[in-house]
Symmetry: C2
């Protein structure tokens, strides 16, 4: 049963298991105590710190263990923001950081957070980062002021944050270049290395680095926080003597020992395993679009993590796709809105401007085999086809796009669609289509052209309804989709891009928004 | 090799080990994911929460798992203080809370913290707590304003905190009574149940409860935080979807499963094990003062944890005592100043007003045997005698107290003392007695009587020097000890109490303080 979600949590590495068992016997005592059990625990803790610091590329006294990668990021953001309050109160972060960074930035009161945008591959441009460091949201830089009060002109930046590689699409960021820019600007750079530390140290003159053991096959309960000497840092947690005052509470020593041992073990295999998994990922990147129609593979084809690939399937409901793959024995994750508790698409896919519907992230764990990947490639097309059939998407929609003959069919309500939309809500929201209505498109004339009422319908229905009617307007004519689904804002422009139609723009509407598309072909 | 420091960390319970191993295989995945590994993890998490909530005596949806007891306490204090800012900004805590509570209270900006004092057994009086809730530091209530600005008259109290039982001396607190008083005052009560949860649920109408798994034989890395329905609570950590938004970061699921399983297991044996260990503790309480001269057993003889006993030995250096016991195979802890990184005595012993020098805490782990305890009682007198001999304390001092003939000896510098004081500093401080001087007492006449210059000397030297000279002044005469050692403030009055001498008081001095004692016998 292949598990393809290593980017969420990797199964425990055998070395981690062995080290954990040994440390449960040898390292359960308080390392701050002077008796033999305490001294033994202290030796294990010191050795684990040395090993982890070596893997990170810092000094042992620059590294502390935290209860998780999330807590390491939270501490880093609050610790630097507090220490550098006089230097400035702005934060500059990439728009595709992990939510732990974005939420920590929100929690730091003050001068607002500037999010540096990314290109369609998910990568920030160092020039955009530099512009954001210099002055905030300059037009055309890709930087965007998103939270908090408008920073005063010239107010300084307390902290910059850039991940080493993205957790949803695998794109590797230009950390070393950005670190140099930050150094030149006198701003410390925090690197979230959660997804990449297994593969190698983060190069460059970063100031702080955070990581999480359960991403590399270590046990849960262990994060790393490195704060390089010379970085101003004022821990915001209550005073505590452990971990240099930077991570309060009794150390989770057996897990720390296991984390350090497994990091060393995965690093020893990193080069060969990266090459092997990268070839498997290349195979997925090539084969999925060949085997499944209407798929967009997202992320960078070369500057990427070795083990991770993400793609989105038009006219597919991400949750149904996950469920279908799970039934077929594959565990993957998704950034589609219908798979999130907030019913909004992943902020990463949104920042990239790529399709979010039918989104699947495959992240291969160490040891994943070519046979597993082949079986996945054998299974995926059928699962996607079944979801599309259930939504009555492929035949109807693709027919509608291809030939006007399908119109009559598109106008009639489909029972399959009804069933699914009325019954699928796992989040306790009201039935969003309980009245049995289904927008088939009505021509209101005027500026709006053909209007499709998709209000109350969730991804991927608005896009399916758009696709159903686009063939009905003449080339150059407009279709306006009314939708209150957040995913539509991302997926309608993405559909236009994929289908070579023109996305005219978005207008406010009484409920939700009106998305206007011009037929090009 | 008996380990007698269960109150710091208990060795892993066999049930915890077994559950941990099973959960490493079954519960490593992300419980928020919908695929089979995630669903399996979710089932384990839900079951662990049910079991832990049952043991705590709360609903499962009132309980979250945190990375440690310390973090649970930190979150509880900041979460209530923020949610009840309008109700008031004062905190009322016992003076003997764990430092995690005291430090969290310090970190909450605002209306100051009122510490409710304790009696010589370490127990708060509910009436003192009520007075502190009502108005702060009323004279004679035992309540003391200790940090922050003076609270405005009538300003409300955001939160009260009282431990279920003290971690250093084992005294059980009147939680149920105090909880009723808090309820009547409309103030939520946080109970730190870290030391007692293994033995049973905390009774009474508390609002929040925190605990730590590695205190009951669970693995490190797991704390519990219960927040009863109706308690205003606003998490201060950055937003996170896990654990109801009250404990950010990926759950340490294998450890959580092990924690819940072992709590259930220790509870099943709690009644019989409590009776058995309590008898062993009674034996220590009775025998130690019989076997070792000049010992003060501290804490309550009846209202106490079953497994924990603390005593202090006059004229003994706690660190040397720990080292001697460690050499003899016993692992214990100490609240003496010389065993703390800050060189101050335990705030618990200070609040109780009891002797802190030569302090030893014995906390028996589950399964500790009568033979272990007998061996400890056989070993202790010799270890104490050796430390005293090394300090040249027992013969000289006890002689000096008993008969004036010893005076000549007391006047001469002792090489043993010199060596020890000049060489023992493990904390990197300067040699505090490098000039070879040793206060032997000089009679300056006037109010001060005989003056002993113990400046630069650490516990237990100032007390030893006082004891050496007390026989030299006539009954009714004064001895003034000059000391800059924090422990002297506690130990000189405690010595007076034990020796039936009169402690006159403390005067400021150019360096340190001047402690004045009147000879009574």
């Amino acid at each position: 049963m292949p598990y393809f979600d290593a980017a969420s949590a990797a199964p425990l590495h055998p070395v981690a298991r062995e080290a954990l068992l040994a440390a449960l016997d040898e390292g359960w005592a308080d390392p701050a105590r002077l008796y033999r059990e305490g001294r033994r625990a202290r030796l294990l803790l010191d050795a684990a710190r040395e090993a982890a610091a070596e893997a990170v590329g810092c000094r042992a006294d620059e590294l502390v263990f935290t209860p998780s990668g999330t807590r390491a990021l939270h501490s880093a953001v609050s610790g630097v923001a507090a220490a550098r309050r006089r230097a400035g109160r702005r934060l500059v972060v990439s728009a595709v950081e992990h939510s732990a960074v974005l939420h920590a930035a929100e929690a730091v009161a003050g001068g607002g957070t500037v999010q540096v945008g990314v290109d369609r591959t998910g990568r920030v441009a160092p020039a955009d980062f530099a512009a954001a460091l210099a002055g905030g949201a300059e037009p055309g830089t890709g930087a965007e002021q998103t939270t908090g009060e408008e920073p005063a002109a010239g107010e300084g930046t307390a902290l910059a944050a850039l991940q080493s590689a993205n957790h949803e699409v695998g794109t590797v960021q230009p950390v070393a270049e950005v670190a140099d820019l930050c150094r030149a600007a006198g701003v410390p750079l925090l690197v979230d290395a959660a997804q990449s530390l297994a593969w190698g140290p983060v190069e460059g003159a970063w100031s702080l680095l955070a990581a999480s053991a359960h991403k590399w096959g270590g046990p849960p309960g262990v994060g790393l926080l490195a704060v390089r000497k010379g970085t101003r840092y004022a821990p915001q947690e209550p005073a505590d003597e452990r971990e240099s005052g930077r991570s309060p509470g009794f150390q989770n020593l057996p897990a720390i020992v296991a984390a350090a041992a497994s990091l060393r073990a995965v690093r020893a295999q990193a080069a060969s395993e990266a090459a092997r998994l990268s070839a498997l990922v290349d195979r997925i990147r090539t084969e999925v679009p060949r085997l499944v129609p209407d798929v967009e593979v997202v992320g960078h084809d070369r500057l990427r993590l070795p083990h991770l690939v993400t793609f989105s399937c038009l006219y597919v409901d991400g949750e149904a796709l996950l469920a279908g793959l799970d039934l077929a024995g594959f565990s993957v994750s998704s950034g589609s809105s219908c798979t999130s508790s907030t019913l909004t698409p992943s902020h990463v896919l949104r920042a990239m401007g790529v399709l979010s519907e039918g989104n699947i992230r495959v992240s291969l764990p160490a040891g994943a085999t070519a046979a597993d990947v082949d079986r996945f490639l054998d299974t995926l097309p059928g699962v996607v086809a079944r979801v599309r059939a259930h939504l009555d998407a492929p035949a109807a929609v693709r027919g509608a796009e291809d030939e006007p003959a399908a119109r009559a069919h598109a106008d009639a309500p489909e029972p399959g669609h009804e069933d699914r939309n009325g019954g699928r809500d796992r989040n306790g929201h009201e039935d969003r289509n309980g009245d049995g209505s289904q927008g088939g498109g009505r021509n209101e004339g005027g500026d709006a052209g053909l209007v499709v009422d998709s209000l109350g319908k969730r991804c991927p229905i608005p896009v399916i309804e758009l696709a159903r009617v686009i063939g009905r307007v003449p080339v150059g004519g407009l279709v306006t989709v009314l939708s209150d689904d957040e995913a539509a804002r991302l997926d309608i422009p993405a559909w236009c891009e994929m289908r070579a139609q023109e996305y005219v723009g978005e207008r406010p509407a009484e409920r939700g928004a009106a998305y206007v598309v011009r037929r090009r072909g």
